[in-house]
Point group: C2
Chain length 334, copies 2
């Protein structure tokens, strides 16, 4: 018996046009091929289920594309953050480059400790020491000059353990997730404690995330006319720290919409995930749990960088998705 398909020539033409134009019908159906670097498991399933729910027209959880905002932490969520935040390693490299012009650093903390590689003594200098390091290495130049310094560093510096450029130490499964969300109409943002002008140098090339979708910590800049040409000078003054409760504040200020999807990996992301899931309708909150000492690093409650303690308890209590890096990720780096 032959079943007559009720597909007129015109309807067929329309269908071809729609598929050709946006690719959506195929994307939604092709989930079994999505996220190839993720092992089949609860984390991958939770992501695929959520995206299917919010993108099914007429479904109870459908969300219009304009409201599909997804926010990602950067350090430890999209790229590695050990043995220390990469921006801190950049600052130390920068300090070494500047040291010949600053002989006084040989006997001043935190500079002496950093130049000697004595991280214990640097840690003892606390937040004050960290702020001094940032200001000595990140301020006193124009925004264009700073971008050039960061670009040169990312092009040349290599990771002490993996011997690869830092921008190669991004997580392949997360790159796939970013692309998968964008294919499904999401707008992907970075919301990170890292410096916004540090990250923007490479986020478009590395993650496909343009500068205007990167939210981060900032220092004060001043508009100055220099020899008839306007420049923005980076001043040695903190403007905003985009971490912990600062993340929902920054999301509201920069994006002006509440995300429906958020991913982090540490206690610094807890409030972003709370804020995301407190909205109405379907919501997704995810945490990367670093459990793979062999291929990357294993750390959580006691780590100096990317501590995951309270947020891990809250994830269990609230049913947030926790990615077990060792079990859930087939590959780590591209």
């Amino acid at each position: 018996m032959t079943v007559a398909l009720p597909l007129t020539r015109r309807a067929f033409a329309c269908a071809i046009f729609l598929i050709a134009c946006c690719g959506q019908p195929f994307t939604a159906l092709a989930q079994s091929d999505s996220l190839p670097s993720w092992n089949d498991g609860p984390a991958r399933k939770a992501i695929l289920d959520f995206v299917a729910r919010v993108t099914t027209p007429g479904g109870p959880d459908f969300v219009p594309a304009a409201e599909r905002i997804a926010t990602f932490d950067n350090d430890g969520t999209l790229w590695c953050e050990q043995p220390a935040y990469f921006q801190l390693l950049f600052a130390i490299d920068r300090l070494r480059a500047l040291a010949p012009k600053h002989p006084e650093w040989k006997t001043q903390q935190p500079y002496q400790a950093l130049l000697d590689g004595d991280m214990k003594a640097f840690a003892a200098s606390g937040e004050k020491g960290a702020a001094e390091l940032i200001m000595a290495t990140h301020a006193g130049m124009t925004t264009d000059e700073f971008a050039k310094i960061v670009a040169d560093w990312t092009a040349s510096a290599t990771h002490p353990r993996f011997k690869r450029r830092y921008t190669e130490l991004v997580y392949k499964p997360m790159l796939e997730l970013l692309a998968f969300l964008r294919d499904n109409g999401f707008k992907t943002y970075i919301v990170s404690g890292g410096g916004v002008e540090f990250m923007r140098v490479f986020t478009e090339r590395v993650y496909g995330i343009p500068p205007e979708q990167v939210v981060g910590s900032t220092i004060v800049t001043a508009y100055v006319i220099d020899d008839g040409r306007p420049v923005l000078m980076r001043e040695a003054k903190l403007d905003f720290i985009d971490d912990k409760a600062g993340k929902p504040v920054a999301i509201n200020k920069f994006i002006g919409r509440r995300p429906i999807f958020a991913f982090g990996n540490s206690d610094g992301d807890q409030q972003m995930l709370e804020w995301t899931t407190a909205g109405g309708g379907a919501r997704f909150a995810g945490l990367v749990h670093h459990t793979d000492a062999e291929r990357e690093y294993a750390y959580d409650r006691d780590s100096a960088f990317g501590r995951l303690d309270k947020a891990l308890d809250e994830a269990a209590a609230r049913g947030w998705t926790v990615v077990d890096m060792k079990k859930d990720w087939r590959r780590i780096f591209p």
Copy 2:
């Protein structure tokens, strides 16, 4: 003689597909029909010429779509700002609504002056008085509550002279310009001295500009857990004024790219236009000059709101495009 067109069947199919998908080839050609509320004149011509130059593939001034950032001031550029900034009129309406709960305002400045409609006495209270008015009317509630208050006001309040809702007093020629730029691959932003959370309530509906493309002045918000539910409380503390030199600073912080096209109408926009035009390649800077007392208002160098003085001189010196509202605009409001 017949000229044989070298158009294969395959090439023809490709051309149809491209036109159907993005509409660009037609848009670029159809400039004579563009901006119908603009009279033929130097301002309209400068806009059309600029857009043609930066969107012509292979041309010397071509700019990739991702870098086609256009920034617009709001008050006096996209909507009317007389007899006073509309957000100030909102604040006064709000003050009146709150007055019954604040009997002390009857004898305190700047409240007494405002409740009596004595704008001269209010002006005498200076920046301090203005800040007190903003804090008394814009702080002390959650971000969601504030958005509701603004939405209710824009839906009901009417302009004293035109007797229309404030969101109807937007400039039709500028709405056409925003749409024309977007049709040509530009991303359109508002960069205004107005409050970002005030504007975001209506910018998507009125201008087609989504919340994440609105940059403005901000007050501090605090992340608070209220009865188990996270909220953002608006505090009576100024965070950032997005005016004058603050505009390039905010553009760099929020957008992270330099615009290639910027439009303003007052001295508050001068630095945004300087910053825009100081970049390399083709750049456009425009100013709306309010010259039409009959259909709107005529004001410039001496106006209390939207003063256009230094920027008008700079426009002449630098060849920025100055829109003569009376001559250049066929219609003012939609």
